[in-house]
C-alpha cells in the first residue's frame, strides 16, 4: 500500500481548499460530529426544500481525510433527495469498509477508496456522513450531535 493511494492529489486539494466550507444561516437543520479518538470536530448545516437538500455547508477541523471527505460529500449531495443521499452513503460505507467497489455514482468520492487499507482512519472519512445523517434525521433546526466512538 502506497501512501499516495491514501493521500491522492484530489484529497490533498480538498483538504487545503475545502468546498462549501462555513455555515449556512439561516438553516433548516444542523448537526455536530465529533471523533474523540483524534479530536476531529465538524458542524454541518443544511437548507432543504421538501426532501431535497438545496444547500449544505460544513465547518470544523480535522485530519486531511475527514476534511476532504466532508468537502467532497457536500459537493456530491447538493441537490439530491434523502433516498439518493442514503444510497450514496451506503455505497460510500461499503467502499470504505472494503465490502463494495467504487460505482460510477460516487464520482470524486471514490478517491477515498485508499482509506480502507488504513482501518484506523475509516472513521475519519465517515464522520461527515454520520453528521449529515443526524442533521437530516431531524425535522427541526435544533442541532443534533453525533460521535463516532
Amino acid at each position: 500500500m502506497q501512501l499516495d493511494e491514501l493521500y491522492r492529489e484530489v484529497i490533498l486539494d480538498h483538504n487545503k481548499h475545502p468546498r462549501n466550507f462555513g455555515r449556512l444561516d439561516p438553516h433548516d437543520a444542523e448537526a455536530k460530529g465529533h471523533n474523540p479518538l483524534c479530536g476531529d470536530r465538524l458542524t454541518v448545516t443544511v437548507l432543504r426544500e421538501g426532501d431535497r437538500v438545496t444547500d449544505i455547508r460544513f465547518e470544523g477541523n480535522g485530519c486531511a481525510i475527514s476534511m476532504a471527505s466532508a468537502s467532497m460529500m457536500t459537493e456530491a449531495i447538493k441537490g439530491r433527495d434523502r433516498a439518493a443521499i442514503e444510497t450514496l452513503f451506503q455505497q460510500m460505507h461499503a467502499l470504505l469498509t472494503g465490502t463494495g467497489s467504487a460505482s460510477a455514482d460516487l464520482g470524486k468520492l471514490a478517491s477515498l477508496a485508499g482509506v480502507r487499507e488504513f482501518p484506523a482512519r475509516v472513521k475519519c472519512a465517515t464522520l461527515c456522513w454520520h453528521t449529515l445523517n443526524a442533521a437530516l434525521a431531524r425535522s427541526d433546526a435544533v442541532p443534533a450531535s453525533v460521535s463516532t466512538e
Binding site: 493521500y7 490533498l12 483538504n15 479518538l37 483524534c38 481525510i65 488504513f118 475519519c124
Partner: protein, 849 residues
Amino acid sequence: MNAPRVPVPGSLSNAAYEQRLRDAIMDSAPLLNARTLPVGVRSAALNKALAAGLPQLRDDLWRYADLRYLASAALGPAAPAAADVLAAAATPLLPARLAGYTRLVFVNGRLLADLSDPCPELDLGAPPLVPDRTRHERFGWLNDAFATDVARLAVRAPLRLEIIFAAVLGIGRDADHPRLEITLAAQAGLVLVERHLGSVGPEGFINAATQVHAGPGSQVQHLRWQQLGDDAQFLDTTQIALDRDAQYAFALLQLGARSARTSLRASLYGAGASLQLHGVSVTGGKHSLDHSLLVDHLAPHTASSQVFRAIARDQARIACRSRVEVQAGRRITRGPVAEGTGRQPAGRDRPAATAGNPYRRRARRAWRHHRRAGRQHAVLSTFARTGPGHGPRPAGMGIPGRRRPRHRAAGVAWRRRAAPGLGAGQQCCPGDIAVTALHSVGGTAFDVEAVRRQFPILAQQVNGRPLAYLDNGASTQRPQAVIDAVDHYETHLHANVHRGVHTLSQLATDAFEGARERVRRFLNAASTREIIFTRGTTEAINLVAQSWGRSNLGPDDEVIVSALEHHANLVPWQMMAAATGARLRVAPIDEQGQLRFEAFLALLNPRTRLVAMTHVSNALGTVVPIQRVIDAAHHAGVPVLVDGAQAVAHLPVDVRALAADFYCFSGHKLYGPTGIGVLYGRADLLDAMPPWQGGGDMIRTVSFEGATWNDLPYKFEAGTPNMTGAIGLAAAMDFLEALGPDEAAAHEHRLLTAATAALMRIPGVHIHGTAEEKAAVLSFTLKGVHPHDLGTILDHEGVAIRAGHHCAMPLMELLGLPATARASFACYNTMAEVEQLDLAVRRAAEVFH
C-alpha cells in the same frame, strides 16, 4: 606612574603588592575612558583585589603558578597612546586575515577602528557583564578595574569573528588588560578566534578576562591562541555560563610565555548544556604554565569533557588542575574522575548545598540516591603536571603521596599517558614530552545496541522499514528478562496466593510478596505495608479518590490539580467532587508548559484538602518541581498525591525523600507488563482509610452481619491479585536498576535534544512544551498537516508515535490545539531512530507540500 622596577626574578610580599595596587589606583583614574566599566564596578573590584591580596603557596589552586615576575610588572592600565602610534606598532605583528571572518583589533586595550572591520555585534556602550568572582579570581578583579576598551559583543545571528589582542608594551606602561564579554542570544552561533600576540618585554604583563554567557541552544566554537613571546607574563580569568542545550567548545593553544596562568570557571546551569575543553601547551626553558579549571554541573543532563596536552622542554613546568562539581541531577555524562585525588577530606565531597541554591534539595536527594547506589562522584578533582621529576607513570598509579580514588565515576577517566616510545614507568625528565592528560570513555558508557538486544519486539519491520518505536509515553516494550520472569512464574510457580497450605501456593505467595518488597526498595518506601498493587495508575488514583476522598472531602472543600493533568488524575476527582460537593482548582501553566508555581501557591487555602499533581506531563514532557509542590502543600498542612506514571522510568523516585503522601504509577510504562500498577501511600493515611472494594484478601473475618478488614496492604487488594503482573514488574525494576537509571535518562535526554534540534529545523514544525526541565517527550505539530495524518505518514515510514490529545483534553484546549504528534523516547531508542523521525516528518511535509 612609573612602576618601580624590581630585579627579576624577585619576590613580592603581600604588603608590596598592595602598595603597588594602591599606586595603580591613584594613577589610573584619569587614564580610564568612558568606554570602560562603570566607576562603581572598578572601585569595588579594586577593593576586592586588595582584600584578596596575592595568592599564597598554600592556596591549593595557585601553588603551581609562578608569580615571581609580578614584582617587576606594572599592574595598572596601559598608558594612553595615540591610535596611530599603536597602529604603527601593531601592524607588523598582525597575522594574515582569516577569510570570512570579521576582524577586531585591540592594541594595548584600545580598539583600533582603522584596523578593524565594522561589527554591528560590537556594542561598547552595552551594560557590562559584571562577573561574580571568587578569591581565586583576584586577577579578574584587577582586570575589572583596569580594562580599557572592552570587546563587548551581543551575538544574535551566526557570526565568525577574529579578535586580536595585541600588546605592544614598552610604548607606555607595561601592562595590558584585554577584556572580552560575549552574550549569545538563544540559538545563536559563534565561531571565535581570539589571538593574543605582541611584543612584550621582560616587564610586560597581560591580564586578560573573558565572560561568556551562552543562551539556550546557542553554539560556540572558541579558539584562544596565546603567542606573546618568551618574556610575557600572561594571566587569564575566564568565566563561561551555559544555558539550556548550549554547546561550547573551547580550544586553548598556548605557546611560550615565561609564566602563564589560566583560571577557567564554567557553570552549566541549563539542562542539556555541554562543554568541551581542549588545550595544548608548549613551552621550554625555565618557564611555567598553569591551568586551573572548575566545571560546575548545576543542571541535570549536562556534559563536559577535558583534554589537555602539554609539552614541556628543558626545565619547564606545566600543571593542570581540574575540578568538576555536580550539584544537581548529577547526571554527568562525560567528565573526568579523580585519579590521584585525596585532596578532599572524607565526607567533604558532598555537593555544595548552600542556602538559596534552587537545586539544593534535589542535590541532596540525588546524593542520597547515589549513596545507596554505592557511587560517589559529586566532586571530581584531578591533577597532572610535568616538569623535572614528574615523568609519566603507568596509568592508574596516581601521583605519589596521594591516595587512590575509592570510586571511579561513570564515563571518563583522566589518564596520564606515556609519550610515544616510552615504556610505562620510564622516566623522561628533564625530557621533551611529559604529561598528556586526556579523557577516555570508560566501560560504563551507555551501549544502546546491547540494550536493544534485550527487547525482542524491536527487531522487526513495519511497512517494510525498521520499527522506530517512539510511543513510549503510551507504553514501553518489555525486555527479555521481564518476559522470562513472567514465563517462569506461569510455567513453574503459579497458584493462588495467601490461601493454600500447599507448596505451590507458598511459592507463588513468596514470589508475589518478593515483588512487593522489590517495589518498596525501588521507591524507598518504609514498609511493604505501604505498597498496594493496583491495575495501574488510573486505578491507584481512583482508589485514593474513592476511599480517602469519600471520607475526607465535603462541600466546598478543594482539591488542587494542575493544568497538565492526564484524564486519570482529573476525572476521579471530578467524580468525587460531584459526590461530595468539593471543588476542583486548577493550577495554571506558563507558555512553556511549566507549572506557575506562584499561582499554585495562591491556590492553597484553608479549604484545600489535597493536592493531586502529575510528576511529569505525558503530553508536554514537563518535569513538575514536585518537591517544591510537596513542601509548599505540607507547609499548608495539605497531603499530596503524585501521578508518577510518566516519571518512574525516567527519574529517580524516592518517596521518603520527596515526603509524598501518595505516589502512583503503572508497570507498563516502566518496561513491565500491563494490568499492574502501584499505589504507594503513607501507612498512617492508609490505615485511616476505609476499603474501597470488597471481596477476598481484603477481609479478616466475615459473618453474615458484617466483616472486619485485613491489615495493610491487603485491605485494599480485594480479589485474587495480578501475581503475574507483579512479578513482571519486579523484573522490570531489576532490569532498570541493572541498566543504570541515570545513564538511561541521560541517553534519553540526548535523544530528546537531538530530536528537538532536528525537528526545529523543519519549516512549519512547532514544538509544544519547552520547559526548562523535560522528560524525553517531544510534542509537536507541523503546519498544514493534522497530527493524525502525520501519525499515518510516520507509521508508513516505520516510525510509531502518538497522535491525538494524549488523554489531556483540557490541556489541549488550553493550548488551543485539537491534537499534537508526540514522540517519546525510552532507553532502547537510538540516534538513528531520531534521524528516521526527522526524515519521516520531512516526508510528511513533502506529501502535503
